[in-house]
Assembly symmetry: C2
Homo-oligomer: 317 residues x 2
């Protein structure tokens, strides 16, 4: 292999190209304790785009008191919205959030639902039904404005209060999100408990319910180290959109170095090794994560960033 | 899921049972800088056995000046050799090492070869041919004594000096190890660069050369986070023996928290999630890794140990 690049050996039955939905700037940073300056966030988004990522989730138009880290959405979005050929999805929890996103010219929005009542209550202070009712006018209006709408679904595999989540329950909420008008659903393994057979079973059930793999994204957490194996199972099932976070940003608060999101670099290593096109320059992406780790003052949890970035991975580059 | 256990959802085409070849006490500890007391090593091996691991590589009969950490092989082996129903393979680099192992009653030995000339030179100070010539009488005599003989093969995917390693080259050395009399070959991705398609291609080529998946073990390193995805590809190809290291012990010296070996806990999480029997009690295994991390004074790099062991994972339990 060239230094920093895996040897390419395709495997049969996998997609030729995967679109990575980069969530580091939103899902990753929103868990940071110290507030990250708006200009650093903008630089992060710009560097991610320069590394070849074509979908970079930028921020969230939730109420600032819910997620203080993202209270600068109005200031940040205009700093990055001119990036050529890059989609910049933003979260919109309700109509007020959609209004703010529309006012700034956002073209891609996302709503976030839960497959379980417990997490809907904890995260949205609503029942699943109430949350979907809140999203209905958001999705309708977004579609009327010609926006693409992603529906995030949390707790698709396990829930910390309820335990294993029945596949049928997940399928039912997915169907309702599709019926609302979401054109892409992101299946979240929020607590990282999924294993590959579970992934295959859920994707099979969704296919049987009329939701094809091409309308889905997978969003795995690496809490138990399963994210990449689960991604392989999803690719084998025809999924072509994968969520990941540069540098594995988005750790669990209770374990300082534990990782939350699948690291984009680890994903890119596997995809490029499999001969799957992503458009991403792994060297530039790793350099971006090394740079951000320097800004945050701690090393990246990504294995690949540590291996390629070495001791520099927690220093300013 | 029960706390600490994934939900079980089998996937078609996978083995019903996997034998884990636990390498933490040898491959893991040999990279430790500070010498670990013999009694701690013995306790580690005993706890691994009590956690249900049936193959626990115990130590190495290399010359003490090569691996000072394992210079206590003569003292350690008798402390653990009475464990019921547990195989305790030991490394033997040459006839002198075999003599020492036989004198202590070892029943399972392993030799370690390289798929590349560069690593044979670096690790064994010999050409590949010279190394195999050195092993020939070792394997012959071990087989005559009724011992099982494993052949480790390093650098099966990439080599830091030579780059990608041609599959045919790996197959050729594997055939020679088989011809010597090795009954199991462990395919090592020593620098962790493999991806799933590469794994499938090598296993396919070995099958075509008359070496079935059931005579193979896979030994993946998690340097780029690929180990578990590669393991899934190997299982899909019929491999039923997987090497792993409790707690992910065996880090790269240049990156303090980077991981070398696949963590046994992360592997067990996936296997149990897939409904594959291992005989391992994940809770006891995690407790063992937490205990050892306390002895070594630093946290385990295993994602699962960190998630299940939490803040306790680097404290004495």
């Amino acid at each position: 292999m060239t230094a920093g690049l895996p040897m390419t050996v395709p495997a049969p039955g996998l997609p030729a190209r995967v679109r990575i939905h980069e969530v580091g700037a939103r899902d990753g940073l929103q868990n940071e304790q110290g507030v990250v300056p708006t200009e650093v966030k903008a630089e992060f988004v710009r560097r991610l785009a320069e590394a070849g990522l074509t979908t970079v989730e930028a921020t969230s138009f939730v109420h600032p008191k819910w997620v203080p880290q993202l209270a600068d959405a109005e200031q940040l979005f205009p700093l990055v919205s001119g990036l050529d050929g890059v989609r910049l999805p933003v979260l919109v929890p309700n109509e007020r959030g959609l209004d703010r996103a529309l006012a700034l010219g956002a073209r891609d929005v996302a709503v976030f639902a839960s497959a379980t009542e417990s997490f809907a209550r904890a995260n949205l202070n609503r029942t699943v039904d109430e949350a979907l009712a809140m999203f209905a006018p958001v999705v309708t209006r977004a579609v009327e404005h010609g926006l693409s709408v992603r529906g995030y679904l949390s707790m698709c595999f396990g829930d910390p209060w309820e335990g294993p989540v029945p596949v049928e329950q997940v399928v039912a909420v997915c169907r309702r999100l599709r019926d609302l008008g979401c054109d892409e659903l992101s299946l979240g393994d929020t607590i990282g408990v999924a294993t590959p057979g579970h992934v295959t079973r859920l994707l099979t059930a969704l296919g049987e319910a009329g939701i094809p793999a091409t309308a889905l994204a997978v969003h795995f957490h690496d809490t138990y180290g399963q994210a990449l194996a689960n991604t392989l199972a999803a690719l084998q099932h025809g999924v072509t959109t994968v969520d990941a976070s540069a540098g594995g940003l988005g750790g669990c608060p209770y374990a300082k170095s534990a990782t939350g999101n699948l690291a984009t670099e680890d994903l890119v290593w596997m995809l490029h090794g499999l001969g799957i096109d992503t458009g991403v320059d792994l060297g530039r992406l790793t350099a971006t994560s090394v740079w951000l780790a320097g800004q945050l003052g701690r090393p990246s949890p990504s294995r690949t960033v540590r291996a390629l970035g070495g001791a520099a991975s927690h220093k300013e580059s």
